[in-house]
C-alpha cells in the first residue's frame, strides 16, 4: 500500500466546457434582454359627469383638465364652495403643443388657493396624441397625485 506517500502529480482542471456553456448562456441573455428602462404612470378611470356628493350633501370640489387641439388646456373647477364653475385657459405653444410649464405653474397656484383639491380628471380632444396626454398627466401627478383619465 502507498498510504502516506505524497503525490507530486499536477491536476489540470479542464474549463473549456464551462467556457462554452457560458458563451451560449451569455449570448442568449444578451439577445433576449431588454435594456429599456420601463416605468409606469398610474391613473384611474373616471366617468365624465358631475362630481360625487360628499357626506354633507354638497358635491366635493373637482378639477377637470381638457386638452384642446391647438395646444390650449382648459381647467374647469366646480363643486365645493364655488357657486359657479370656474374656467381657466392655459394657452398652448406656437407649435400647437401644450405649455406644460405654464400649466404646472397655474396648477400650483390653484392648489395653493384650494388645497382641498386632490384629484384631477384629464380629458382631451379626439385627435390629441397619447404622448402629449402622458406628458400632461405626468406633470399634473407631481402636483396632485390622484389623476383620472375620462372614459
Amino acid at each position: 500500500m502507498n498510504v502516506g506517500e505524497s503525490s507530486s502529480q499536477e491536476v489540470d482542471l479542464n474549463i473549456a466546457p464551462i467556457i462554452d456553456m457560458f458563451t451560449v448562456l451569455i449570448t442568449y441573455l444578451i439577445v433576449t434582454a431588454s435594456f429599456l428602462t420601463l416605468a409606469a404612470v398610474d391613473v384611474g378611470v373616471s366617468a365624465t359627469g358631475t362630481a360625487a356628493a360628499t357626506s354633507a350633501g354638497r358635491p366635493s370640489m373637482s378639477m377637470l383638465l381638457e386638452l384642446k387641439s391647438g395646444g390650449d388646456v382648459n381647467i374647469a373647477l366646480q363643486g365645493g364652495n364655488l357657486t359657479h364653475e370656474i374656467d381657466i385657459d392655459v394657452k398652448g405653444l406656437p407649435n400647437s403643443l401644450q405649455n406644460v410649464k405654464a400649466l404646472e405653474a397655474r396648477l400650483r397656484q390653484l392648489q395653493a388657493k384650494w388645497p382641498q383639491i386632490k384629484e384631477v380628471s384629464v380629458t382631451a380632444d379626439p385627435n390629441i396624441i397619447y404622448k402629449n396626454i402622458v406628458d400632461v398627466i405626468h406633470k399634473v401627478q407631481s402636483i396632485m397625485p390622484k389623476v383620472y383619465i375620462s372614459s
Binding site: 467556457i19 431588454s34 398610474d42 385627435n127 397619447y130
Partner: protein, 158 residues
C-alpha cells in the same frame, strides 16, 4: 556552405482562459440579475414607440396587458381588434362576426382572475401617436369590465 539548421521549439502552447472565465462569470451574474422574470412580458414590440418621461416613480406591476399599435389592439398577447392607422376599422374584429369584441375579451379576462373583485389593474402599452379617441375607446371597454386602475407604460429617460 552548410545549411543553417533552425532549432524547432517543442514547447506546448496553452491558452490561459482562467481570466476569460472570470469575466464571463461577472457578465453572467450581471445579466441574470437584470433579467426580467415576471409572468407579464412588458417588453414593447418592435413596431411600438412608447412615450418618454423624465422620471417616474411607479414600477410596472403584474396584471393584464393591453397593447395599442398602429394596426392592432392586443390583449394578453392575443390580437383582438384591427385598427386602420390608429382608427377603429368598420369591421373591428379580426375574424369577422364570430370573433369576440374588445368588451367581451375584457369581461372574459376579468372572470379569469382568481379574485375578480380585487384585481382591477391593467397595463396599457400604447404607441405615442395613438389618438385620444382610440385610447378612450379601449379604456372605456376595460373600465366596463372593471379594470379601472391603469398603468400607462412609459420609457424613463435620464
Amino acid at each position: 556552405m552548410k545549411p543553417i539548421k533552425k532549432k524547432r521549439k517543442s514547447t506546448e502552447m496553452s491558452l490561459q482562459i482562467t481570466s476569460m472565465a472570470d469575466i464571463f462569470m461577472i457578465l453572467l451574474v450581471f445579466l441574470l440579475k437584470n433579467y426580467s422574470t415576471s409572468i407579464t412580458s412588458i417588453t414593447p414590440s418592435t413596431h411600438l414607440t412608447l412615450p418618454q418621461v423624465l422620471k417616474s416613480n411607479a414600477q410596472v406591476r403584474e396584471s393584464l396587458k393591453v397593447e395599442i399599435s398602429r394596426n392592432v389592439v392586443v390583449v394578453d398577447d392575443k390580437p383582438i381588434v384591427r385598427l386602420n392607422n390608429f382608427q377603429f376599422a368598420p369591421s373591428e374584429t379580426l375574424h369577422g362576426a364570430d370573433s369576440p369584441t374588445l368588451e367581451q375579451v375584457f369581461a372574459h379576462q376579468r372572470k379569469l382572475l382568481p379574485i375578480p373583485n380585487l384585481g382591477s389593474g391593467l397595463v396599457v402599452m400604447a404607441d405615442q401617436q395613438t389618438p385620444y379617441s382610440t385610447l378612450k375607446r379601449v379604456v372605456a371597454s376595460a373600465a366596463q369590465a372593471g379594470f379601472v386602475n391603469l398603468q400607462l407604460v412609459v420609457v424613463e429617460t435620464e
